[in-house]
């Protein structure tokens, strides 16, 4: 427990002009009993920093409070020993730059912030990063395009790799395809695929351990220390790995569901995958009788972009059809190729290849909807098309009809469980037990899915994020993509896996609190086995024993504090962030008596979005009501409702909660934190009603960072409503 807090107040950047720094010094020294309190006109300059370093080195202080600019500013200057207790009090953006200078309310705001900072720093303890032996090996599940790329990438970077493939050979779906799409200038010629060469490289690589005809029976542990049990036939064996790349690929949409497109009515109606075999034979033989096909009709979006089947675009089928059309013309330039499409998806440089195939005289592209597919006498198939370019319906007879079938991610079962068509449209069962990774996690055996059965998250800026630390999806199981994109995606997922083992080996958290050395500890003697923490952790970091006692896994943890907010017994604490610290900060706020008619509003703010937004208000020198006292939280999900009770019993008049947007398009960096906080708030409102306090005294707001300009009004409106309600009747009790 630290005892000697040093308080360093900067009077620069107009802080000294706006505030009475002498009174702040008094608060630090007389009230808060700071061991040292220094004022400097330019604290982040060499001289100011030297004073702090000297006090720390001389052991005059063991905890530091910097009362200066926002904690988001001058981070390099105020970077000391990362384990030393340190708190930043935001006198610049949140006081001097956003409130009236030389004003008593502004002064009281600054003094409260200083009290809160000193009390917090006084309760912090030096950080001790988690330690443990770390395996840097990477497990790659799936030996197709993405998996082979991941294995090669990790091995080349110097990491041992365990590559597991359930089939008896590597290559995945690539094994069925002769040529790849053009990815190099001039983007018009198909490329040979050297699958044998790629397999040989992996087989020969000294860092790659290859297991074919093998599945993952069990994955337990945590990043840096996973134990995976693999099974081949009746054998079972273990590997210790640090991180996992899940590259289990895709499975074609079940053509049996495509009866409306004629599938099953004639041997001449085939899927794109079946047609690949026809092309491979080299003779373009019509399946029914082996005669050379003189016309082939492709139906695009067979099962894709259809709310009754796959609601998304499978991303690969247009280009794959163009490739197959090209191969048809290489076999027989006279063969007619009809392509019935909704939109031709040929993004980027693929447009060049599209233009080439489109310009072939025997290629006929038609935007339209297929209304019927009927086999005719004599092995031809008639296709009826509506809404075509001429605005009427037409019929085309072709020797072969190819359904450009979409695909589902192979994430939902060993057999490639697919979208289940239902009356409401396609629904995706979540991962079933015994499918891919078989995690021994309290929250389930597989990676949670985001959109449409693809495992992951919805972050645009952080597309590799999953809700299971150290496990990353790569390739077609990650999102619909072609082979070239899957190779690149696999590189990225492998990079994240490597990064995870490296950060874990340094005792650091991974994204989004990358580098954080703190982690929660559990005072289990007081645990009531209520299981809230194990249920609410967004990342499945906490398992349970038979009795329901939490078993924490530090390397799975993202340090958001959602468990700390969940715990009714307040037994979950970080050394620099705890229920007690925040409660003590609330107690440190001086609440004026009822007669002074000065409300006090507590604002719990997500430090990732709302807090920086309020900083921007300060940078713009815009003002807002000085009755607010802001407490930044790691995530609004770390809000413990005891704080609200504490605040109200202290006479605080109102509480604002500002967190990230939640719902399907959540912006919470911990995925579920802000949503969990809003649910907790519902419980608080019931308590308020029992206490006969108006529920309006507590309000939650969803704030995204670009909405900074709205904050002063948001705050002002809330404060006015509280003024109308009158003071908290518990004031002074």
């Amino acid at each position: 427990m630290s005892k000697s807090v040093g308080v360093y107040i900067c009077s620069g950047c107009s802080i000294g002009d706006s505030l009475d720094v002498g009174r702040l010094t008094n608060v630090a020294q007389k009230e808060c009993k700071a061991a040292v309190c220094r004022v400097h006109p330019f604290l982040c300059g060499d001289e100011g920093l030297a004073e702090i370093r000297q006090d720390v080195a001389g052991k005059a202080v063991d905890s530091v409070v910097i009362a200066a600019c926002s904690p988001r500013m001058k981070t390099a200057a105020f970077a000391f020993d990362p384990c030393m207790p340190l708190d930043r009090v935001n006198l610049r953006e949140h006081v001097a730059w956003s409130h009236s200078p030389k004003d008593e309310d502004s002064q009281q705001l600054a003094e409260d912030y200083l009290r809160m900072g000193v009390v917090k720093a006084g309760k912090m303890e030096p950080l001790e990063p988690p330690v443990g032996e770390v395996s840097r090996a990477i497990l790659v599940v799936g030996g197709g395009t993405a998996g082979m790329t991941a294995a090669r990438g990790a091995a080349d970077a110097g990491y041992d790799v365990v590559l597991v493939e359930k089939e008896s050979h590597l290559g995945g779906r690539l094994a069925n395809v002769r040529t790849g799409l053009p990815n190099h200038a001039p983007y018009t010629e198909l490329q040979e695929i050297d699958l044998a060469g790629k397999i040989q490289t992996l087989t020969d690589h000294p860092r790659v351990t290859l297991h074919t005809a093998t599945q993952v029976a069990r994955t337990e542990g945590q990043p840096g220390a996973f134990t995976v049990t693999l099974t081949r036939n009746d054998q079972s064996f273990e590997h210790r790995v640090g991180a996992i790349v899940m590259a289990t690929g895709w499975t074609p949409y079940d053509p049996a569901r495509l009866g409306h497109l004629g599938y099953g009515k004639s041997p001449n109606i085939v899927t794109n995958e079946q047609f690949e075999a026809v092309l491979a034979s080299g003779s373009l033989a019509r399946p029914s009788d082996g005669k050379p096909a003189e016309s082939v009709l492709f139906i695009q979006c067979a099962g894709s972009r259809d709310k009754n089947h796959l609601p998304y675009c499978s991303a690969v089928c247009c280009m794959d059809t163009l490739r197959q059309a090209d191969l048809i013309h290489q076999t027989n330039p006279e063969a007619k190729v009809y392509i019935i499409y909704k939109d031709v998806i040929a993004p980027g440089q693929y447009e060049r290849y599209y233009a080439k195939v489109q310009n072939h005289p025997a290629t006929f592209l038609m935007k339209g909807e297929v209304s019927a597919v009927n086999p005719q006498n004599g092995d031809k198939v008639a296709v009826e098309i509506q809404n075509n370019l001429l605005g009427e319906s037409i019929s085309i007879r072709a020797d072969v009809v190819v359904l450009a079938t979409g695909y589902a991610p192979r994430a939902a079962g060993a057999n490639g469980k697919q979208a289940q068509a239902s009356e409401q449209g396609a629904s995706f069962s979540s991962l079933e037990p015994g499918s891919i990774l078989n995690l021994t996690y309290r929250q389930g055996p597989e990676l949670p899915v985001a959109q449409d059965g693809f495992p992951g998250s919805n972050f645009i800026c952080f597309p590799y994020e999953t809700l299971r630390t150290g496990i990353y999806a790569a390739g077609a199981v990650h999102a619909p993509m072609d082979a070239a994109a899957a190779e690149e995606d696999a590189c990225g997922a492998t990079m994240k896996a490597i990064q995870c083992v490296e950060m874990v080996s340094r005792g650091q958290a991974v994204h989004p609190r990358a580098g954080d050395l703190s982690y929660p500890s559990f005072f289990l003697q007081r645990c009531t086995q209520c299981k809230r923490c194990t249920v609410e952790c967004p990342f499945g970091a906490i398992d349970e024993d038979e009795k329901g006692t939490p078993k924490f896994n530090a390397n799975r943890c993202r340090r958001c504090g959602v468990c700390m907010g969940a715990c009714p017994e307040r037994i979950i604490s970080f050394k620099n962030y705890s229920v007690d610290m925040i409660a003590s900060m609330i107690k440190a706020i001086e609440v004026p008596g009822e007669e002074e008619e000065k409300p006090r509003i507590l604002v719990f703010m997500c430090e990732n979005d709302a807090y920086p937004a309020l900083d921007i208000i300060g940078i713009h020198h815009r003002q807002y009501d000085a009755s607010v006292r802001v407490i930044p939280l790691r995530c609004l999900g770390s809000l413990n409702i005891v704080w609200i009770a504490d605040a109200l019993s202290r006479g605080i008049d109102g509480v604002m909660l500002m967190g990230c947007k939640y719902g399907d398009d959540y912006q919470c960096h911990f995925a579920k934190g802000s949503e969990i906080a809003s649910r907790r708030l519902e419980n608080v409102k019931e308590t308020l009603q029992r206490l006969q306090l108006e529920p309006e005294r507590i309000q939650a707001f969803q704030v995204s960072m670009d909405e900074y300009a709205r904050l002063p009004e948001m705050i002002g409106t809330f404060v006015n409503r509280i003024r109308e309600l009158g003071p908290n009747p518990y004031k002074g009790f």
Partner: protein
Amino acid sequence: MDSAGASDHDGKSILVVGGGIAGITAALEAAEAGARVILIERSPFLGGRTAAFHLYFPKLCPPACGLEINFRRLKNNPRITVLTQAELESLAGTAGNFKATVRLSPRFVSGACTLCGACVEACPAERSDEFNFGLSRTKAIYFPHAMAYPAAYAIDRSLCPEGCTACANVCRYDAIHLTQAPERRVFSVAAVIAATGWAPYNAARLAHLGYGTLPNVVTNVVLERMAAPNGPTRGKIVRPSDGKPPESVAFVQCAGSRDENHLPYCSSVCCSASLKHSAYIHAEHPEVPVSVFYIDIRTPGLLDEFRARVTADSHLTLVKGRVGRIEEDPNTHDLFVTVEDALAGRKSIRKFGLVVLATGMVPQSDGLPSGFERDEYGFVADGAPGFYAAGCAKRPEEVAATVRDATGAALRALPYAVRSGRHE
């Protein structure tokens, strides 16, 4: 497992050229894995084109949210050296052993700057704000944009009146040094990642669509700035001719893209971007009719559900057809768009209050070392060992794909920056 693994380093850095979302990502992912990184950016701030976006599709969430996390990762990571107003002048050597010469233009404002803003009030000169595509003005000493990182002023010295030292005179922190000279620094570099990004296609070449002569014909990037709360119109989408909200809006897709006379490739993002822009318009004015004239609506993969969601709005009409000509009523500045409706098979002339040209992406790859592969359009690809490309300099792609790509580029560069990699 050899648990010594790959965490030891030989002290050489990965050089990342370009500080947009691709460059920031490549730098962070490599550095958090343990590599040392030098991130150089030509402009005075990081974030590149993404910093100028109002919202990302398909989530309609603000870029500032992810940039904030990334900037925090940068600030907390001592392995990364960020150099703004920096350009790669030359590169010599081979993978694992490059010497990179970086030219640093002076910022004239040092790290002692506290953002107090006194200099801006004192500055007598103004500049056109390129962040807002010239739709607003700043002083010659300026803060690049509200959420800029590094959070520091920069000075466009070409606009300073001769002998003027007004800003330096009022600075209480001795942070302004008007005589600062350019410098050169040489770094030992193991590998180079090109993340030089894109620029909007030069709309001046689209004179046949009225750009430059008809005030109410704007580009998609300008619309993006108008929609942003920190933009020149504070989030209002208005007609440049009269500052009023448009009564109807047309989007012209493939303005320059998929066109042998302009950009023969597809710019990939413009379809989703126009759908997003339609959502911006309807968020503010739900009843305004919006028409999108297109060849194909390209919303690949999961983006197709965004298309379905946005097009469910009955005030949005998609028309497959080429726009031939745009003319205006000189009195009202309303626009008459001649369009060949490919589905209906007829030509029609329709009136709109505002026309948005969905201009495409042009890769920014001039000046990159010759070790990179470069195609006829200027897109770069991985080249010789040690040369890796990422993001829109490589192909037109949306933000999420750029981030994936940049993360992958970091992996390909990593073996050269760690001792136990394949080059040992």
